[in-house]
Subunit: 450 residues, 2 copies
């Protein structure tokens, strides 16, 4: 697959610069007036907790943030809108005219595991430029990581059987594209979504719908038509009327070389067993069985002993299997004071207090298995002097250096690298991570304030 | 607000034509080869059940489908992609070159209540053109209606207090735009999302974030700055450090004309009560109190007696408050046979069987309250001869007539009309609809097959 540079068409007419909450612009306006907009700042993205009972999360979406950053500038239409609605003052409009993010971004890799308080993304720049990114960064990371985290659990539950994204119809049409990408980061092997396949170079997969059988005069004609168009290696949908008859017809029409059959209703385990035996008896021993129908990780685990070859997962994938968002937040942790010195800051809101200071993040291992997430916080000076254990894994990579994006984290190759990385990082966690039993995060997070 | 025609920039480079599952195109390919692609068809969108315990759903998104239809044609890039990936044959590429939907669409209004089996959308055209729309139509209706349905419950629970969408950061960045629109259909009064405000002409609202207080040397300077930029009618965030001190500072800085304060943490009801008393004691009797912090319809109901003036709702709005999708499906119900006669069809899949034949839909009333949803199904001829009770409300309106879109259902005015319509339609349901207790749909759906 050739490496594809992504240029989100969505951002051509509507830039991501207005994919934001109004208060980001009104705060910018006030801070430009009083001079604090130029203060150097560090913002960090983290979540206070994983969804109930989850053992780990999987980071996804960072590459999409980089794509969006490339287009994060205001069009004439955007400026006119902000001006007409009096969202900001004319002076701020002027400031926004040539806006480009010129800061630095570090963070966890896509496909990396995360835990409560992991500093998933760290954005450093002036207050003005960092605050404008808040909503967009959170939208991307909260949704994509929710999908990747659910996908990863499903892939574990499916053991070595491939999982395919078929969930586009059950979420917003653009979320569907992001979900397909995040599913692959989370371990899925392909997607039914053509736009995701086009934009990100993903493998596209598909079978047929019940309407295809119904529009034909009978099932035999439908199967004949599909094989004529797609070849005998196609997958025929066999549960429109009567599964046993459909399987018989399918093998009669395609011959024993038939690629596969799909079952989309009923008791999937016992139906798969019956269909497998029937296919074998008909000589179609290499014909694959794929099943679909509101699958989640628990259903996949229950199907482990059934003779199924692959899974199509829809609703529960794109809605994060009960956790459709990650509760990630974007918080100011350090800023320049009136004296020009960088100072750790934190809010003290009840149950929502934050840890002041920028963070370093490492993972330690014992017998090749992760045993702790170490978050080190402190002043710029203290962190510069800090010597981590050399055997720890440094979890922060450099995404953007003073406005320059590292392209290795964008496009198709980055997604496939994240796909591989997830499998490796998951294998390095205690095996309890792969349990579907509800429990605590599989490793503790220790925060050290220097 | 001037009426805005919507031209989704997202569709300029990436047309909605690839926001679809691959099998729609492979089915088209097979059907073009065997001649069934030209068969006249009727597809219908419905859900088999509401989310557990919900009394009704609210339709939203149909106007966005019309926007997408205007752009539903394949660019050269799209055709090249389908060709390079060998998704379809060269003959099908040719057919797709000038593709425009030329069929007819009827359906429920946006803002209308729906129940199990309500035919929310009815798409009539050739098999080829109708099948290509499946995924996109479902993506839009499933997500937008999930948000509008949750919004409607929240608005009921909030009584007359305005609810504002602040959820953009907790869902995909484009889903956020759709969610803001759907929230207004569902009864919300405004959104923090600027792009939604721009595209759909919605009211934009906002306060300030904790980082705004933190970037300043102290809270007093932050409040001064915000008032200098936005005037004393602005809303100050008072829970960064200590709420009581912040309220005192706020009134000192702004004077008793201060527009509002926002509380985002802790026990909102008791804090609102304390803050109200403090504000009144300081003479700021007209200063409003807005609260935020993972609100859902249950939290809003619990706040009914607290002195709160408005609500900012985030996560639970954009994730459908536990039901992030509506389980709507798009099923072939009638098609032309080899003999040219329209014939009702249905699949017989276990637990997923469908009712054959196109549907009419009416709601009947007793003492001005809805008492039944009537779904009438049958052959084209039987339906043409059918005489409904003249007192029933006909639930299907004409959206598209042979490819021509009725513009009254697009843009800002259509959203505001849907907003009004929802309030009226909800008031016509038995009051149990507004209960948050789990239960059955508030009126039964009766299906009659002629």
């Amino acid at each position: 697959m050739p490496r594809r540079r992504v240029s989100m068409g969505a951002y051509t007419d509507y830039s991501p610069a207005l994919m934001t909450d109004m208060y980001e612009y009104t705060m910018l306006d006030a801070c430009l007036k009083d001079g604090t907009a130029d203060r150097k700042c560090v913002f960090e993205v983290f979540t206070r907790h994983l969804p109930e009972g989850r053992r780990y999360g999987v980071v996804a979406g960072t590459g999409r943030i980089l794509d969006a950053l490339e287009h994060f500038h205001l069009s004439e239409g955007d400026l006119k809108f902000l001006s007409d609605r009096k969202v900001v003052s004319p002076e701020t409009i002027k400031w926004l005219e040539n806006f480009r993010f010129s800061g630095t971004i570090k963070g966890y890799r896509e496909g990396e595991m995360f835990f409560p308080n992991s500093p998933i993304l760290q954005v450093e720049g002036t207050f003005g430029e960092c605050t404008l990114l808040e909503t967009l960064i959170l939208s991307v990371l909260n949704y994509d990581s929710a999908v990747a985290s659910a996908a990863s659990r499903m892939v574990s539950a499916a053991k070595d059987r491939p999982c395919m994204d078929m969930g586009g119809r059950r979420t917003n049409e653009w979320a569907a594209v992001a979900a397909a990408r995040a599913a692959v980061v989370g371990g899925f092997k392909g997607t039914a979504n053509l736009l995701a396949a086009q934009i990100y170079g993903l493998k596209a997969i598909g079978t047929a719908a019940h309407c295809f059988t119904l529009v034909h005069d009978d099932e035999r004609q439908a199967f004949r038509s599909q094989i004529a168009a797609l070849g005998e290696n196609t997958t025929l949908l066999v549960d429109t009327y009567n599964i046993e008859e459909a399987v018989k017809t399918a093998v009669e029409v395609a011959g024993p070389q038939l690629g596969g059959v799909r079952i989309d209703s009923g008791d999937l385990a016992s139906l798969a067993q019956r269909v497998r035996n029937q296919l074998d008896a008909l000589g179609a021993t290499n014909t694959k069985i794929t099943v679909t129908n509101d699958l989640d990780e628990y259903a996949l685990a229950a199907l482990q002993t059934a003779p199924v070859d692959s899974y199509g997962v829809g609703t529960m994938l794109v809605t994060g299997s009960g956790a459709p968002t990650c509760a990630m937040v974007y918080k100011l942790t350090e800023r320049e004071g009136a004296d020009g010195v960088m100072t750790p800051v934190a809010k003290k809101s009840k149950n929502k207090a934050t840890v002041p200071g920028r963070k370093l993040a490492f993972r330690s291992y014992e017998y090749n298995l992760a045993d702790c997430e170490h978050i080190i916080s402190g002043s710029e000076k203290a962190l510069a002097a800090y010597q981590p254990n050399p055997e720890w894994k440094n979890l922060l990579v450099d995404y953007v250096d003073h406005g320059t994006i590292d392209p290795q984290y964008q496009g198709h190759d980055a997604i496939m690298a994240a796909h591989e990385y997830r499998a490796k990082a998951l294998a390095e966690l205690p095996i309890t991570a792969q349990s579907l039993m509800k429990g605590e995060p599989v490793i503790p997070t220790e925060t050290t304030v220097l």
